[in-house]
């Protein structure tokens, strides 16, 4: 198989997505969940720019990638704020323990 640059980038995107999904499956700490989401979004940003490059409209790919970067940062900020408040109120960052709370 002749690996071109585009194939290499595609494999890299799929690899990053795979590692990110694996992290989402095995991670329990709430702060680490935010970090894993960051990894996934980095793969998506690369995919947007890559698709823009392939389709010949790099400006559109960059525009969408910039929007995703802003949204991803806000997700990280709000997620971290929630995690810190959960830690203060409940005393743990373990997602299964938090999800079993009632009342």
């Amino acid at each position: 198989m002749n690996l071109t640059v585009l194939n290499i980038i595609l494999l890299g995107i799929i690899g990053l997505l795979g590692v990110g999904v694996y992290g989402l499956l095995i991670t329990r700490n709430l702060i680490k969940v935010v970090m894993v989401l960051q990894i996934l979004v980095k793969a998506v940003i690369l995919a947007f720019v890559f698709s823009g490059k392939v389709s010949g409209n790099l400006g559109l790919g960059q525009s969408i990638a910039a929007t995703v970067i802003v949204a991803d940062t806000i997700v990280a900020v709000v997620g971290l704020a929630l995690a810190v408040q959960v830690r203060r109120r409940v005393g743990t960052l373990d997602a299964p323990q938090v999800s079993t709370l009632r009342g």
């Binding site: 640059v5 694996y22 935010v34 940003i45 010949g56 900020v77 299964p96």
Partner: protein, 164 residues
């Protein structure tokens, strides 16, 4: 030569992502996350997306890292990741199957490199996708509210704060 650079950068990013996930100390994971951002920024720059590369480097490796370190300093000793609920071999199997399926679906779509003239980012952003700019402004306001929540020191009365 260009292919070798891409391979090294992307392999480094995947390695850092794996280390960020399996590392027990979350501070180490934060450093690995910043490394991923830096490597992805170089790849974006090499692809020609220079503006997005600068944004990714400043936001991903700068702002988010600072926020994560601050959050870790607030939560203190609890910043260790416990072992997973899902068996790791099962997770690896599911992810490998999904990745193979994704590769099988998208591989035929990238067999050509278009040489069409591209519209520059400023034209796209300010003429074609103005709604995105407004959405970004709203999101930034939401982020400010989130930072206020992160920095809030007030603890509610009547809550002990012990483990459940």
């Amino acid at each position: 030569m260009e292919r070798v650079e891409y391979v090294l950068l992307l392999m480094g990013a995947i390695f850092c992502a794996y280390r960020a996930i399996v590392s027990k100390r979350i501070l180490s994971s934060t450093i690995y996350l910043a490394c991923i951002s830096a490597l992805i920024s170089v790849v974006l720059f090499m692809l020609g997306a220079t503006q997005v590369a600068v944004m990714e480097l400043s936001v991903g490796a700068g702002l988010v890292t600072v926020l994560l370190v601050y959050a870790l300093s607030v939560v203190g000793e609890d910043a260790l990741d416990p072992s997973s609920v899902i068996p790791k071999p099962f997770a690896i199997f599911v992810v490998s199957a999904a990745a193979l399926f994704l590769g099988w679906m998208v591989y035929p779509a990238v067999q050509f490199d278009s040489q069409m003239a591209s519209i520059d980012l400023a034209s796209v952003l300010w003429q074609q996708r103005v709604l995105d700019v407004w959405i970004q402004i709203v999101l930034i306001f939401s982020g400010v509210m989130g930072v206020l929540g992160l920095l809030s020191e007030r603890t509610p009365t009547g809550i002990t704060g012990g483990r459940a």
